[in-house]
Amino acid sequence: MGNRQSGPFIGHVDGDAFYVSAERVRDRFLCGRPVGVISNQGYFVIAKSGEMKQCGITTGEPLPDAIKKCPNGIYVKRDFQWYEVVSKRMLEAVKLLSPQVEYYSIDELFFTVPKGDDPQRFAEKLRAHVMAEVGVPVTVGISRSRTLAKLIGDTAKPFGARAVCVEAAERAYLDEVEITDVSGIGGRRARRLATYGIKSCADYANADPRIIRQLLTVVGQRLWYELRGESVEPIRTSRPRHKILSRGGSIGRASADPVRVWSFVVRNLERFIEALQFHGLQPGRISLYILYRDDIERHAGTRLLAASDRFDVLLSAFKFCFQQCWLPGRLVARMHLFGTELQGDGYVQPGLFDPPDAKARAVAIAKREVNAELGRFAVRSAQTLFLNDIYSDEANNYESCDIQGKMVF
């Protein structure tokens, strides 16, 4: 392996306080002031500016606690439609300079450094370019693998540009980074690694690969290569087909009302079907996850007679799951609907017992066309009528998961 300075090198771009920065692009009043972006229901801080971070506010902090720590902070409602505009502008700006760009998440990109370019100078150039073209501050990290690039970038925040492409220098950085800072290594895996004395990323990179494989399978082994500077995770310029599709999230004010909670299931089902139709997919199996207050979880699934994206078929299946998951008297906090065994690409295996679907198809097409013309959820299931408070706020109709094309949520 040795020291490889000739490339190819891989970079990571990360928007600094991205939601706040996006708000400041269109609203100069917010510049220089402590700003927090508030969640769907108006209760949690989902993003904060550097000024607000200095007051000790953390992401996910309830607003009543945040205003005590930062009484002069100004709070804005989240607007994912606008954040998508800014995110896509960032993507296009990076594409102007790099031959290969992966749209990883709403505020992160991976890219390859053009052959022959000095990585440090390219990092600084890219940072300045995004600022000039888009108006958001980003941090750029460059190294020999995407995992290293992201970790190097994290050490340079905010508004940093750092390239570390020599093994000895990489290991010096990795020595200071805990293994839990790597995406995919949570508490449980970290505890397993710790029993072998693996606590830092440097420990991980220096470990016996057979132990890594034994503890964390081939996924952990790929990470081992990445931390050693061997790029094994490719830059993906287009999103691969989904293996799982999901919609859901917090229901805002927790509720033990089965009518209201079921309305949320139907609301999320309509969003789920919209996503299925966008990707041309139909699930063969669906499942429902409900999280109650006090961290009680319930999960139920069922296989469909045949893969389908039909509202009536999926509604019936989710109703069955809901009945398995429902706990009377308990407050529901959030839910997720999942679809797996996804079929698509223009052909879906029909089943022997598919119910007639001419009418269902006609209704689905009419609904889609009306909503495309008049706005999302202009036509929706009557079973969502109990959520008029949610639908009356248009900002609730667009969430981060509705931004298409990115690799992760």
Binding site: D27, F29, G42, Y75, V76, S392, A395
Partner: protein
């Protein structure tokens, strides 16, 4: 708890910023200074745009010891439709604000707040802030059942 609004000093005529009663309301570091107007100030006032002009007016009539105008700082917007102000000459104005304050929370105001301007018995302008039932979002943020009638935006 006091309601309030904040207006960037860049939007206030500079000669007014030097007046003691306005200067004492200025808050913030250089570059991000704002004038804060509080409803429970000893001289509550609001900056409004009326017929194209910038005006500083009294905020409601809580503090007056002579006027018979409603003793409040705000008016339900629906009350205008009920003609509870019939017989009084009123003028719709824009209350100039970049941020509003309710129950400890500063929230962004992008285009101003609807206001109702009346002249009191001495011909002095008084502005009432128009309010409406709080949206679910605003109520969750501030725990308030009413919210300012924002111009051209929904929170």
């Amino acid at each position: 708890m006091a309601e309030g609004v904040a207006l960037s000093t860049q939007e206030v005529p500079s000669h007014l910023l030097e007046q003691p009663d306005i200067a004492r309301r200025i808050f913030g570091e250089p570059g991000v200074r704002e004038v804060r107007f509080w409803s429970n100030d000893r001289w509550p006032c609001l900056a409004v745009r009326h017929e194209g002009r910038f005006l500083l007016t009294r905020w409601g009539n809580r503090a007056s010891n002579y006027s018979k105008l409603p003793r409040a700082g705000w008016v339900w917007k629906e009350d205008l439709r009920k003609q509870l102000w019939a017989g009084v000459e009123t003028f719709p104005v824009t209350i100039l604000a970049n941020a509003g304050f309710e129950s400890g929370v500063w929230y962004r105001v992008r285009r101003g707040i609807e206001g109702l301007l009346v002249n009191d018995e001495r011909g002095k302008p008084v502005t009432y802030m128009l309010v409406e039932p709080a949206s679910h979002y605003f109520r969750t943020m501030t725990r308030s059942n009413r919210m300012p009638a924002l111009i051209g935006e929904v929170i």
